[in-house]
């Protein structure tokens, strides 16, 4: 049975998770969506997510703290950072802190699928392509 990728999406804007979940489910990912970073933080303790997608700037707990927690709890987890305030310094900081990938908002569900597929490959999991075949 092919391995299922467990993905956690965290963004304090509800529309983000709502928009991204269906596309990832289509390629076989089990997706949990959070808008409250405290809830996401707790959930990461409970369940191993191979991939965590997190916004940076959120109240009370920011994305870098979530990333640190995820990497400390499950060292194989790939963290993808998303932000509406993308700048070179922020991107480099994210990578230095252990992010697998980084993208600026707005981005399309296809962009995220591509990053998830890349992260999956890095974990040794091949995801089905959603691109139309020739």
């Amino acid at each position: 049975m092919p391995e299922v990728l467990n993905v956690l999406i965290l963004d304090d804007e509800p529309i983000v998770g709502k928009r991204l979940k269906p596309g990832l489910a289509k390629i076989g990912c089990e997706v949990e969506v959070f808008t409250d970073p405290k809830e996401a933080y707790k959930r990461i303790d409970e369940k191993k997510f191979q991939i965590v997608v997190t916004d940076i700037y959120m109240p009370e707990i920011d994305g870098f703290q979530i990333m640190k927690h995820a990497l400390e709890r499950w060292d194989q987890t790939k963290v993808i950072v998303i932000t509406g305030y993308a700048m070179m310094e922020v991107a480099r900081t994210a990578m230095e802190k252990g992010a697998f990938d980084f993208i600026a908002k707005p981005f399309t569900p296809a962009d995220l699928r591509a990053m998830i597929t890349k992260a999956g490959a890095a974990l040794g999991v091949e995801l089905p392509s959603t691109e139309p075949s020739a």
């Binding site: 991107a91 480099r92 591509a114």
Partner: protein
């Protein structure tokens, strides 16, 4: 997929370091031949393209419109090469075309002035006095051109990730530092940086395509969404140009949407708006 851009002075040996770094990493080495490629690609005389990029202040020099055009051609050709990644480029201003792209390591290699003077004497057969004069004039010209063209102060250390003083290190030490630094995680390509590069590449291609007929054209690109701004002398020209720009750019590879904003330049047209009394 990372890129290393080495900025160095004339009559310094930074090209040697660039070659060694490229060999060590198995990267492609590119340098002044980018100019020849651009000249060939856009069918312009190489000497004139060089003149435009050297910031020549000769009274027989090129007009600002021509300089701008040739700079656009060079930018487009240069960005096309950089798209491939895994390369080392050596040249004075390459880093200014990729500001903000995180997977480009931008390094400034500073050579000792006296060492350069000695090199000029040897290479050009000049006296020491003339060699100094030549180097000082060249430095002044380059700094002025960079400031006017890119609106930056070349001495700003924020333009670079690494600065190496060549008189304080050996070639091997410089090479080792650069090879080690580019492998740091913060210089690895990520979706954000690849998109930044792709946006600049697309914008440069479009600008080069239209700059001859539309010297005032401004092009922005983000994720394949292109915005164009140009000026024309009258209303009928506006409608014609809007349509032409939209159709041509929309058909280009990598373009998802096009927004065109053509303004009527009343001063150019000879008409002046009424007073505000």
């Amino acid at each position: 997929m990372s890129i290393i851009i080495l900025s160095g002075d004339t009559y310094s040996h930074y090209q040697e370091i660039a070659a060694a770094v490229a060999q060590n990493l198995n990267y492609t080495l590119i340098g002044p031949e980018v100019l020849a490629n651009a000249a060939q690609q856009y069918k312009v005389p190489e000497k004139k393209l060089l003149k435009a990029l050297e910031g020549s202040s000769s009274i027989l020099g090129l007009s600002p419109v021509i300089k701008e055009r040739y700079l656009a051609y060079f930018t487009a050709s240069f960005m096309e090469r950089l798209q491939k990644g895994k390369m080392v480029y050596h040249g004075r201003v390459g880093h200014l075309f990729v500001k903000g792209v995180t997977h480009v390591l931008k390094a400034r290699l500073v050579d000792d002035f006296e060492t350069r003077v000695r090199k000029v004497i040897t290479q050009e057969g000049l006296t020491e006095k003339k060699a100094r004069k030549l180097l000082l004039a060249e430095e002044k010209r380059i700094k002025r051109w960079i400031s006017a063209t890119f609106n930056v102060d070349e001495a700003d250390s924020d333009l670079f990730d690494v600065t190496i003083t060549l008189s304080d290190t050996t070639v091997d030490q410089s090479v080792a530092l650069l090879v080690k630094t580019v492998q740091d995680v913060k210089f690895q390509p990520m979706t954000y940086s690849l998109k930044c590069m792709q946006d600049r590449y697309l914008a440069s291609q479009i600008r080069a395509l239209f700059i001859e007929s539309q010297p005032s054209i401004n092009v922005g690109a983000r994720d394949g969404n292109v915005s164009l701004r140009a000026t024309v002398p009258n209303k009928s020209e506006k409608e014609k140009l809007e349509s032409a720009l939209y159709e041509k750019v929309r058909a280009m590879q990598g373009v998802n949407s096009v927004e065109v904003n053509v303004l009527i330049d009343t001063i150019q047209s000879g008409k002046v708006l009424g007073s505000h009394r």
